[in-house]
């Protein structure tokens, strides 16, 4: 799982690639930690190169979403592959996280 973060003040563009699974969820979490304390962040995550997410990956997305909500910001996940979207759908996480 590779995470690229391009930040200009509160505007943050994140690119994810690979698999967010049990073996690398910790690193995924570490990589997005700098985003957890931003005030009113505007985060756009490009998931076009993301192949899969496990429960651990969902938990990282959830942690980020909760932080964004708490700091009065917004977050959107874009270009997600259908097989990844399905994981969000069958867990109810599509109700929590804004996926376009």
């Amino acid at each position: 799982m590779n995470v690229t973060i391009n930040q200009q003040d509160n505007l943050v563009k994140v690119t994810l690639s690979g698999r967010a699974d049990t073996t690398n969820a910790d690193r995924f979490q570490t990589d997005i930690t700098p985003l957890l304390n931003l005030e009113k962040p505007d985060i756009e995550i490009d998931c076009s190169e993301m192949e899969y997410t496990s429960s651990q990956g969902l938990r990282v997305f959830l942690m980020l979403q909760k932080s964004v909500n708490a700091h009065g910001g917004k977050m959107v996940l874009r270009n997600m592959k259908p097989q990844v979207k399905e994981v969000f759908d069958i867990t109810g996480f599509s109700n929590i996280i804004n996926i376009l």
């Binding site: 429960s55 259908p82 069958i90 109810g92 996480f93 599509s94 109700n95 929590i96 996926i99």
Partner: protein, 362 residues
Amino acid sequence: MEQYGLDLHGQMILEAYRSDMAVFEKMRQFIDSQLHGIVEDNGLYVTAIESRVKSEQSLAGKLQLKGSKYASLSDITDILGARVVAFYSDEVDKIAALIETRFDVDWDNSVDKRKLLELDRFGYRSLHYVCHIPPSLFADESMPQLNEYRFEIQMRTALQHVWATMYHDTGYKSGMEIPKTYLRSLNRMAGLLEIADEEFSKLRIKINDYRRQVHALVADGNFDAVNLDGDSFNNYLALNPFKYLIEKIASINQAEIYQDTLRPYLPVMQGMGFKTLGDVERMRFECSEYAYQLALHQLATTDIDIVALSLSLQNLCIVHIYKQGGGIDGLLHFYNMLFGDNGYNATRAHRTLEQLDKINIV
């Protein structure tokens, strides 16, 4: 001081004001914090709490006009003034009652302007209390005047405040006499706002009664008698109606349940034609087993061990639509309402329909 043209008596009062400015400022900060505390501790919702120490120029103006009326600075009760602006007239009374318990009220100098107006007069309506800070509440040995000087607290509604501000701006202190016809218009506005104040208070009482009624009906299980709306849905959710279903779904993979909000489903269910909580309850009874079967079909072959509470309601709605013969169009409409109109919803709807077809819903 000579700049104000005051006589010796006026100059003495103004000098006392200057030397005690720190006292007044300390009083102001304390009173301001007390008023905020009164409002917050009692769950009251106000539009503003303001306080100010009278400016030197304003005091000098007052002394020029009627300085001989005051023997000393402590006779002037509005050097320090505070104001609480509430939304509702009954809340003004509540705030007043709370202020009475906090400060010593000088009743001889306090005025309820709401009661002073003649039956056929409309105009300034506000409650003014002149108070002391009791030593039991706050004292400072270096500033005994803190408990000697009086201060004024105005309490009014937002609409009374609007009228008073407009009147102040256009009439009372504009420095120019305005024609009686305009004054009459201002006073007519006071009557109009008084009616609006009363209507807002009555409306709030009616809404609170409605909420209590809905709460009682939901608690008694009279779901068909309760319209599906924001209040009733919140009361319904407080009963945890989807707890059993989501726990059953979570048991498929021994999953953790994330307690997300179900509020986004209110407009969706309304869009599905649900009118009462009874409609939601019927869906829950008739579709829970199939909603579980759908989740079993989706999750059993995965190692996913976290689900959102909303998955329960999501699957209930999906099964309900299928049972009602909604087909692909019904599912697409549902996803469009839930996630917004986007190109992926058609894929979602087709995939969901394939899964539903496999679980033998009757």
